[in-house]
Structure formats: C-alpha cells, structure tokens
Amino acid sequence: MGLATRHLEANGIPTVIMGCAKDIVEHCGVPRFVWSDFPLGNSAGRPFDVESQAQTLELALRLLETAPAARTTVSSPLGWTAEAAWKHRFLDVGKLSPEEIAERRKEFDVVKAVAKAKREGA
C-alpha cells in the first residue's frame, strides 16, 4: 500500500493512507499517514464504533488539506484498551513450544504453496 500511495502521489494525485503498522508505513515513506494504535485490521477505526470511524476518517481528510510536507504522520488520539497488554500478544514467538513452532512452520509452508498456486493461476 505504501508503494501504491507513493506512485499515485508522484503522478500528481494527493493521497492519505490510514493504518496501524506505524513502523512499516513510515519505513516505506509515504506522503500522509493517519496512524491508529489499534491491532492490525482496524485501520479505519474501532469495530462497531461509528464515532471512532468518523473521527479517524476526519483526521485523514484534515491531513489531505493541511499536511505541510511529505512524511507527515498524524497519530489518532483514540486508544484500543486502557492497558497495553494486547501489544505483547501479536506474533508472540516467545510463548511457543518447539512443537508449536514446528506445527506453525508446516502450516506456513502450506500457506505459501497455496498462495503460489493461486498467484500462478491468476
């Protein structure tokens, strides 16, 4: 998505990207970015919370209007939960037993094969 936003912008269309993975989006380098400190999958606001979705979109629209330069990030003031414990649970490899690691490796091999078949059939 970062590469697409860069391409549009370089060709004269202003863009804004809404996302949760702050490091990945900023590593790519994008013109305008609204960052929500939410679990990946909630780039546009909290589920079933219209107000938070409207607020997040409004940040994106304001950013389109007012960003003074490229690589401007606006951090949404909204939080996911009061505690940060959820942040430790994403891909927490330290919690996996050797058996679970072997199992996940097998699963990922299958995923890669399925993706490859689909890609080549596309």
Binding site: L8, P47, L61, E65
Partner: protein, 177 residues
C-alpha cells in the same frame, strides 16, 4: 532518587515494532527474513481542489468474498486461497462484501466482524452527504497484497493510477488491512 510519582504512561505502551516482531517470528520458524519497502524520502502533491468540491477515491487491500475459496469468516485462519493477484474495482454503490482472511491482521487481538473498521466506504458516503467532500469516485479499487515489490511497483501501482485517473479522482484514501 525518589520524588513525586509522575503518572507517565506504561513503559510498554509504545508503537508495536511490527518489523522486528515479524522478523523474529519467521526466523524462529526457519524462514528467511522479509525485506520491507524502504525510502527515506516521499513524493508530495498538495491538494489543489477544496475537499468540498473534490472527488475522492478509496483503495483497499480487502478481498471480495469468494464462495469457493474456503473459510473467509471473522475467525478464519490465514487463508492464502482467498488472496487476489490483480487489481480489481467495484462500484461504490454495490454494497461490497469484503474480507481480510487473506492477510496477516492481528488475529490475537481483533475479530474483523465490522467491515467499516477496515473499509471506510460508509463513512466516506456520510462525508459526501454532509458536504465535507464533493463526491466519491464511482468505483473503489482493490490492491493485491503481493510479496513481490517489483510486481507492486511495475504492475499494480500503475494500474491503480490508471483507474483513479479514469475516474477523475482528485484525492485518494488508501486503507491497508
């Protein structure tokens, strides 16, 4: 050293380092590390049409539900069979059923039961109704989540640009899932 207790936020309440976390995870599983796209600069085009008169396009990484492609429900495991490898477009008034089982969202912490949390079409339509933005482009576009940066840069991004231009978009909102 002791002084008044300052109510700072918790030390661990910082942005998740997704690249480190993902690198460590896949290395532990025995896979070679992914290289994320990286630039130290970025292009910039100022908005030249006031939003109240602008036509706005929406780009998503979500995938249309495909009945034949296995479990794409909110608790589906990562489903590579539901991926797509070509840019798609659909009418914004088509009430699209879009899923994210084909990407690595945070399955430990969220259940994607509300489309609006990753696809802000309804909120954009409300912004049009409120006069905040002029109009929506007639179509939204789907961007493939391809691991190949080359394909993204040489094929998918130019195709997205072509379609946005065709629709007369003055600005684009991109929402990865």
């Amino acid at each position: 050293m002791s002084g008044p207790t300052v109510p700072f936020a918790s030390e661990d309440d910082v942005p998740i380092r997704y690249m480190d976390r993902t690198r460590e995870y896949y290395q532990t599983l025995g896979f070679s590390p992914y290289r994320w796209a990286h630039f130290t600069d970025a292009p910039f085009t100022p908005l030249s049409t006031p939003l109240a008169r602008a036509r706005v396009a929406l780009i998503t990484t979500a995938a249309p539900f495909q009945p034949e492609a296995g479990d794409q429900g909110p608790r589906a495991p990562y489903n590579a069979g539901a991926k797509f490898y070509q840019v798609y477009s659909a009418a914004v008034d088509s009430k699209p059923d879009l899923r994210i089982s084909h990407v690595g969202y945070d399955r430990a912490n969220t259940v994607p039961e509300d489309l609006n949390a990753y696809f802000p079409l309804a909120r954009l339509q409300e912004a049009v109704a409120a006069g905040r933005i002029g109009s929506l482009a007639p179509r939204f576009h789907g961007a493939p989540t391809n691991r190949s940066h080359r394909v993204t840069m040489e094929t998918d991004a130019p195709e997205l640009l072509r379609r946005c231009r065709e629709d007369g978009a003055d600005a684009v909102v991109l929402v990865p899932s």
